[in-house]
Amino acid sequence: MNDRNEPAIVTRELTKSYGRTLAVDRLSIEVPAGSIFGLLGPNGAGKSTVIRMLTTILPPSSGTALVAGHSITDDPVGVRKCMGYVSQMLSADGALTGYENLLLFARIYGVPKRERRSRIDEALGFMGLTEVAGNVVSSYSGGMIRRLEIAQTILHHPSVVFLDEPTIGLDPVARRHVWDKLRELRDSYRTTIFLTTHDMEEADELCDRIAIMQSGRMAVSGEPLELKKLAGTDSLDEVFIHFAGESGEKSATYREIIQTRRTAQRLG
């Protein structure tokens, strides 16, 4: 296990290019262990590409990163063992019950048989889903599905959890509930949480540190308060516009937009 004071995530000149377009351009960031880190930026700035590289489902074009001490390029299986991933889309299986969804991931992550029941019960309790565990997921609300998806990723007690737009499409109450759970996850398990978001309120209230990306590059990073001072404003919206400008919008792909809308629709 890596040292307590070692950062949970370090990226070194992490780069992804598709043909001539640079989706992510030499990104170097550090995320302290046991903190909540938010990656911000307009659509198409490269946030999702970063998360997909860090979760090892997309190989970088150059550069590398360490997640919980494992290199994403040399030891992807080592990375996968100690992290959890909640994608932007609704990934819980609607045809299964909440319990079955968790059982699948307990097995996939190799939780020993005698511990499966207790870990699943623990995750259900933690996410406030114990009462609905036996119901089919298609009957869940958007917020419940999100919490189930987070439950799926913490069964193996990962040291890092990645979330791509965790509260997109959720109503304010469900959104706050998810935030509370993520804070609890950080505080009681010292899990490092890495998330992407467009939601400035989310970044401001939830994240210990944020980085703003613009056209594949990092525009700025720091604590929300620091950045507000830097931009000379008390609104993170202003900070975002100050550092990200307004030009990134056009580069989001059609498929990304469809996925975002579809997720929002299914949750709403």
């Binding site: 979760t55 090892t56 009681s188 010292r190």
Partner: protein, 274 residues
């Protein structure tokens, strides 16, 4: 929440690269499929309409012609294993769409970000198609019984038929998953699925023997895995059935093809989400 556990992170998880983990992941993917089928078995019923039509309509009418040389059995008996193989093919060949569906839902991303071996994810999917195909097998056995087909009920033959169905369904569904990884979208996949199904079916010994085929088709039929699937089923299902290639050859061709397809598809699997 319970007290924090400073090093609760790596506690006693199984090594994901071992053979045991491979089997566990494969089985858990099949278990998911079983839960879904148990909850909504309607698909199994609608799926049985097509083979019933082939047997009861096509089989009955063609049998009257006595035009197809089927050796020492009547045409209906000859056709039954062929239609079972056809059902296996039809179920399996469109199975790849499930992986496109799971990609669009985001389920696949999560599985690929887990330490599960990709080949185990592929084989689990492949054998799930086998489970569906087994249900077809039961329906075709019932139809054949009603039509007085001389079925072989020796335990060894039945075990062999189950193995043949699982093997055949796994093979064609892995092929289908491979195609899905290459074409990536539903629309293109459906188009290609349609194009593949009929040639595979007609260039095989499912509804007529290879001996009556023109030379070019004979060659194609010998390269078609479905031919070996049909031969295996025809040998095992029918009382006094005899094999054209030998059960050993059939099993070897099907197993080796499956193994190669699983290895290739496991390599391609992550590319579907890019």
């Amino acid at each position: 929440m319970k007290s924090s556990r400073p090093d609760a992170r790596r506690n006693g998880l199984a090594d994901p690269s071992g053979a045991l983990s491979f089997a566990r992941v494969t089985v858990s993917i099949i278990a998911v499929e079983l839960s879904k089928l148990r909850r909504d078995p309607s698909e199994l019923v609608t799926r049985s309409v097509q083979p019933a039509l082939w047997l009861l309509v096509f089989g009955q009418v063609f049998g009257r012609l006595h035009a197809v040389p089927t050796g020492n059995v009547d045409y209906f008996t000859f056709l039954t294993p062929g239609i079972l193989a056809q059902s296996v093919l039809f179920i399996a060949i469109f199975y790849g769409i499930s992986v496109i569906w799971e990609r669009d839902l985001g389920i696949l991303q999560k599985l690929l970000a887990s330490p599960a071996q990709r080949s185990a994810l592929v084989l689990g999917k492949a054998l799930s198609a086998g489970i569906r195909a087994l249900a077809q097998g039961i329906i075709i056995y019932l139809l054949a019984l009603a039509m007085h087909v001389p079925l072989n009920f020796s335990p060894l033959a039945l075990v062999g038929v189950v193995a043949a169905i699982l093997l055949g369904a796994a093979l064609f569904s892995t092929f289908s998953l491979m195609v899905a990884c290459v074409v990536k979208t539903r629309e293109r996949f459906m188009g290609i699925g349609q194009v593949l199904t009929m040639p595979l079916f007609f260039a095989s010994n499912a509804i007529y023997p290879i001996t009556i085929m023109p030379e070019w088709l004979k060659l194609t039929a010998h390269l078609n895995p479905l031919t070996y699937e049909v031969d295996l089923l025809r040998t095992l299902m029918i009382r006094g059935g005899s094999s054209s290639f030998g059960v050993g050859t059939d099993l070897a061709v099907l197993s080796v093809t499956l193994l190669l397809l699983v290895l290739v598809t496991a390599k391609l699997y992550p590319s579907i989400i890019r």
